[in-house]
Amino acid sequence: MLAYLNEFRTSKAAGYYLRAIEKVAPEHQVTLMEICGGHTLTLVKYGLKALLPEQIRLISGPGCPVCVTAQEYIDTALELCKLPDVIITSFGDMLRVPGSYSSLSGEKARGADVRVCLSSLDAVEIARRHTDKQVVFLGIGFETTAPTVAYAVKTAHRENLTNFSVLSALKTIPSAMHALMQSGETDIQGFICPGHVSTITGTSMYEQIVKQYAMPCVVCGFEPTDMLCTIAMIMAQLKQGAARVENQYKRSVKLKGNTKALEIMEEVFEEQDSTWRGLGVIPRSGLKIRDSYKLFDAAKRFSLTLPQAKENPACICGAVMRGIKIPSDCALFAKKCTPDSPVGACMVSGEGICGIYYKYSQH
C-alpha cells in the first residue's frame, strides 16, 4: 500500500505537475477553493502553496464535518449526555468542540458517559453490550460518513436494538457549494471537489454547478501530486475558457459513485433543511432519518429544551469557511483560540482550517 502511496509524494512527480501548472498559469490572480478539509491539510502539510506560482491563490471551503456542525447541535448533544442512562458515542473530533456553555469532553470529565468511536458500527456494538442504556451516536459529516451511519441504523433495526439511536446532522456537499456561489461573497474561479464525498456520490452532481456558474469543477485525490495535477487541470480549463466536470481521482471515483452506498442512504435518510455553522440554514442540505426508521432517530426519541445557543462574537469561523477570511484575520487565532483551548470549531478538528494553519504554519 505504501509503495503505491509514496509514488504520489515524490519531488520528481511534484516537479512534473508544477511545470505543467507553470505552462498554463494565467498572468492575473486566480482563486480556487478546496471544499474539503482533507485537501487543506495536504496543501499545508506538504508545503505546496509556496511551490505554486504566486498568482494562484487557494482558499478553504466548508468541507470539515466538525466545523460546519451548528452550535445548536453541540448544545443538544451536551443536554443528551447529561440524561441518566445515556451513553453518547461520537467521532473523536466532536468531543472538544465548544458548545454554548461546555463541551462533550468537559462533560465527560464531569462524569458523563461519552465514548469515542472510529465507526458508527462501534456505537451499535456498544448498544448491544449495554441494553440497559440508551446509546446515541452523533451522526455528523457528509456523503462520506452518511452511508455508514445508514448501515448502523439498518443494523440496529434488523437486530431490534431499540436502545440505539442517531442524532443526525449529516449534510450534503453540493448544497453548500450552491449556497456559497449564491451568496455572491466568495470570489473564486474553480472548485477543487472532494474526493471521498465523490467516491460515494459520483461526479454528475457537479454538472449543475458547472452549468449554473460556469465554474470548473475537478474531483481531486488527497495526495500532494493529486492536488498539483488538479490545479493544472483547472488552470488548463480556465486558459481554454472552458468549464466542465473532470475527475482527477479516477482510481477511487467513478461516474456513478458507489451505488450500494447511495441506495442505503436513500433508504434510511431524506432531505431536510439544515443549519451550517457560518453559512446559516441551507434548504434541503441535511439528511434526516426517514419515518420508516424513526425509532432510531434521537431527535424524536428525546425531547429536550435547549437554552439559546451563543457563540463568541469575535470568532470568524463562519467567514473562514465561506472563503472570505483566513485564520490569521481572526483576533482570537493563536491567542485566545488554540488547539488546546479552542474557541471555534475550526480550531478543533484535524481537518479544521484554523487547526491546520496553527499546526503547520508560522503564527
Binding site: L5, A14, R96, V116
Partner: protein, 339 residues
C-alpha cells in the same frame, strides 16, 4: 503465597505486606544493598556531581508487544540518565497497586524489571509498595528514580550548545512504541505486527560519548511522549537557531506509516521508548552514525537534518515533494480523522 491476587491486606504493613516484599520484590531484585532492607540504601559514588532523575509509568495495557510496564519503568529512567551523558548506577522503584491485580502478573513485571536492570548494569536498591482499593488506580503504577555518574564530568547537554551546521542524528524508526501499544489495546481493527522499541539506551550513549571529543555531542534526548517533533521543538526553543529536517530521511516502519495513513496520526508526534536523537558537530557525524549503525538498537540510524544559521527558533520540515512546513509542538490531542 496463599492468595493469587493483591488485596488491601497486602498493603497494610503487616504479615502479608512482608510476604509480598520478600517473595516478589526482594526475591527478584536481590542485591547486597537492597538485602540490608534499611529505610534508606547506602550507595557509593565516585567523585564529581551525580545525575538524578525520576519518572512515573502508567500504561494500558500492562503488557504490550515488545515490553511491559516493568521494562518501561526501568528503561525510561535509565534513558533519562543516559541522555544526560551519565552511566546509570542505582534505581529505586515504587509500586502503587490496585487491589485485584493477579500476583503472577506482578511477579512477571518485577522479573522483567530485574532483567532490564541487569542488562543495563543498574541496581535496584530501594523501593516501596502501596495497595489502593479497586478503582483507586488502574492496575499498577510504577515510579522509578535513578542516579548516575557522568562520563565527561563537566559536560552539560543543553540546546544552547548547538551551532549552525551541526547535524541531527536519529537512532532509528519512529512511532513503534505508540503503535504497538495502540494495537495491544485492540482499539483499531487492524492486525499489526509491530513491537515496541522499549529499550535501555545507556550502552549506545556510552559508546557514542567515548568515541568523540567532549562537547562535540551538543545535546541528546530520548523522544518519548510527544515524539520526535516535541523533542526537536524543545531543542529549537532552547537554542538560537532553526532546525531543518528532511521528511524523506526520517526512518519509519511501513506498518507504522500504514496505521498513520488510516488514522490521520502523524508519526512525528508518536511516542518512542528506545530511540535517541542527538545534535553533534558535523565533522563527527559520520563516526557517530557508524557506531550507531553497528549497535543492535540503532541499525536504522540516520542523519535527518541540520541546525541552520537562521535565528528563527523553529523546526522546519522539508517535505517529500520539496515544500516546507513548520513542525510545531503537539497542540491538543491527536485524534483519528472522521473521513
Amino acid at each position: 503465597m496463599s492468595k493469587d491476587i493483591i488485596t488491601l491486606a497486602h498493603g497494610n504493613g503487616g504479615l502479608l505486606t512482608h510476604t509480598l516484599i520478600e517473595q516478589v520484590f526482594a526475591a527478584a531484585f536481590a542485591n547486597p544493598i537492597l538485602d540490608l532492607q534499611g529505610d534508606s540504601a547506602l550507595i557509593g559514588l565516585e567523585s564529581g556531581a551525580a545525575v538524578f532523575t525520576t519518572d512515573s509509568f502508567v500504561i494500558k495495557p500492562l503488557f504490550f508487544p515488545g515490553g511491559d510496564i516493568g521494562k518501561l519503568a526501568v528503561a525510561g529512567t535509565v534513558n533519562d540518565l543516559a541522555v544526560a551523558g551519565a552511566v546509570p548506577r542505582y534505581l529505586s522503584a515504587s509500586f502503587i497497586i490496585e487491589e485485584g491485580l493477579p500476583i503472577n502478573e506482578l511477579k512477571t513485571i518485577v522479573a522483567s524489571m530485574q532483567r532490564t536492570a541487569r542488562q543495563a548494569g543498574v541496581v535496584i536498591v530501594a523501593g516501596d509498595t502501596k495497595v489502593v482499593e479497586k478503582g483507586g488506580a488502574d492496575k499498577l503504577f510504577i515510579t522509578t528514580s535513578g542516579i548516575g555518574t557522568r562520563i565527561h564530568e563537566t559536560q552539560e547537554f543543553t540546546p544552547a550548545n548547538m551551532r549552525a551546521g551541526d547535524c541531527v542524528l536519529l537512532s532509528g524508526t519512529i512511532g513503534d512504541h505508540a503503535i504497538a501499544v495502540l494495537s495491544a489495546r485492540g482499539e483499531y481493527p487492524l492486525k499489526i505486527n509491530i513491537q515496541s522499541d522499549c529499550a535501555c539506551l545507556n550502552d549506545l550513549t556510552c559508546k557514542l560519548l567515548r568515541a568523540v571529543p567532549a562537547e562535540s555531542i551538543r545535546i541528546m534526548r530520548d523522544p518519548t511522549r510527544g515524539g520526535l517533533a516535541t523533542t526537536l521543538n524543545e531543542f529549537a526553543k532552547g537554542g538560537r537557531y532553526a532546525i531543518e529536517i528532511e521528511e524523506s530521511e526520517i526512518p519509519c516502519k511501513q506498518e507504522v506509516q500504514a496505521v498513520c495513513e488510516l488514522t490521520g496520526f502523524d508519526p512525528l508526534y508518536l511516542a518512542n521508548e528506545g530511540k535517541l536523537v542527538l545534535v553533534c558537530a558535523s565533522e563527527h557525524s559520520s563516526t557517530l552514525l557508524e557506531i550507531m549503525r553497528a549497535h543492535p538498537l540503532a541499525k536504522a540510524a540516520a542523519c535527518i537534518g541540520r541546525i541552520t544559521d537562521n535565528s528563527f527558533k523553529k523546526v522546519v520540515l522539508k517535505t517529500t515533494v520539496g515544500g516546507t512546513r513548520i513542525v510545531d509542538m503537539l497542540a491538543g490531542e491527536m485524534l483519528p480523522r472522521i473521513c
